[in-house]
Symmetry: C2
């Protein structure tokens, strides 16, 4: 299977630079720096991969529009990227999606189609076929992975002697891109994934050396609603090649990290976006031994009531 | 009275660059970009002026230490800057200061001296004399003003066609520096100060053409606890030279802006830090007419209970 390369990611960085915020590294304590992707438009790293995927489409193909199925940050990112390119976007969401997210997606000019949960993927494919539009997957695509990898370039540029990079893991698009970039530029840097214990399928898979499936019901137990997907063959191949380890954090540790990020870094971070910080905070001795560490704060779209609970 | 110049500010930018975060401009909506100074170490722009003031001291003078009187962000900034230079810092605070702020200041290695409110300034001067240390004022000093002005350089570099810059006003160090830089680089850009209605002394002064004093009791009514100081002769001279106007916002508008910054920009902003955004949001029609606008979010140190109230 062909893996994404450093030069793919470097090319992506050039294509996304006008649409993406060059996020700074923020020093959190003596050993930790935060990469605050919550500052991106749409509040999450997803804009990097989504915008890059649209940028790579031939102009006549892109003009026919794009389709995504997601109720989360990927939907917002595709809608926002489509707006920047001036092309139509259709977002297929489960009919259980909170009204506020439907409104947010429509605010970027996207058409939102609500369907029963089980029909999301099939309906998205049908819509793409009917309209000649292109389906933009949330992680299982080389252009999406390369876009997310631009975070890795920035981390190494800003902190060349970084020893450990902590990255949230769900479908694996983010860590695939980041690990590819970091290992190419700084082979001795450790790239460590972080999952909720309650959705720890990628951690188990990496240790087993093969994809281990957890049921959607099991993965749905965590408060980290952006980390309930499972890796694809493509992202798992990147993880096996470039990721040193995947660790897990408890629900309590995730909540504590949200509070610390708000109080100590003045950032609003969603549960899924806080797992890397949670891993650092929960294991200060272990990480202290591993030196200069970066935690990717991947997103900040959280219901105010949920957020307030952790302040 | 000699005013700070563009070249003073450019020299300051060079001196502070390793201690200060180069904050990005974050697009908030079609007309507004945020300058998120909440991302600075210590959570506020104050590190720019404090670090610059320390950097400008002769090495033997700096080695004898620094003194500041403040219970707020300036105290944290002086303590943090002193730690970076490896010199002692004494921070004089009123004995009514919340424990959490005393602990935070001590966490930077500073000595904290608690005195009755009315003795703050005199005790700080005494301590400086006794120890041969240097008093670092919060705003009434050219080096502090030049340090804060580095924000203006960054705004114009990142958004050269900015038409309006909105800046919180208290003692006036921030707006003095920002206005000096912005007007020198982009004379047609409007620089507009923002104060709480309940501490609107600078707005009244600028319109009167002379410093108008409000009582400390009156200025203490606003929730924006960082905006209760009054301009000095030095900062007022900069305002008269370079500031186009100062507008005021209500307590309700400040609270609404805190909520919008959290939900829409994923930033924790303190009441004092939110007034510029509040002015933009409260007058969308007026500002829309004035084109591309930047609001400086000056700080993010807010008690979690106060913050949660506005989510």
């Amino acid at each position: 299977m062909a893996l994404v390369t450093l030069s793919d990611i470097q090319a992506a960085a050039d294509l996304v630079k006008d649409a993406v915020v060059r996020t700074p590294l923020l020093r959190f304590d003596d050993g930790l720096w935060l990469k605050p992707e919550v500052l991106q438009p749409v509040g999450a790293f997803k804009i990097r991969g989504a915008y890059h995927a649209l940028a790579r489409l031939p102009e006549d193909v892109r003009a026919r529009g794009v389709v995504a199925h997601s109720s989360g940050n990927h939907a917002q990112a595709v809608a926002y990227a489509a707006k920047l390119f001036g092309v139509p976007a259709v977002i297929v969401v489960p009919d259980t999606t909170p009204r506020v997210k439907v409104v947010a997606t429509r605010s970027h000019g996207a058409e939102v189609v609500e369907v029963p949960m089980t029909e999301r993927e099939s309906r998205a494919r049908e819509l793409a076929d009917e309209r000649g539009a292109t389906l933009i997957p949330p992680f299982d695509h080389p252009d999406v992975i390369a876009g997310q990898g631009t975070i890795g370039l920035e981390v190494v540029a800003d902190l060349p002697d970084v020893e450990t990079v902590l990255v949230p893991v769900s479908g694996g698009g983010l860590i695939s891109g980041v690990a590819t970039a970091v290992k190419a530029l700084s082979p001795s840097t450790r790239v460590v994934g972080v999952e909720p214990e309650l959705a720890g399928d990628a951690a188990e898979s990496l240790r087993a050396g093969a994809l281990v499936q957890w049921s959607p019901e099991d993965r749905a137990r965590t408060v980290a609603d952006g980390l309930r997907s499972e890796p694809s063959e493509l992202t798992f191949a990147h993880m096996r090649a470039y990721v040193d380890d995947i660790v897990t954090v408890s629900e309590e540790e995730i909540g504590a990290a949200i509070g610390r990020a708000a109080r100590q870094a003045r950032l609003v971070v969603e549960p899924s976006g806080a797992v890397a910080l949670a891993a650092y905070l929960a294991r200060p001795t272990g990480w202290a031994a591993s030196g200069r560490t970066v935690a990717v704060l991947s997103g900040g779209n959280v219901d105010p009531e949920v957020f307030a609970r952790y302040l």
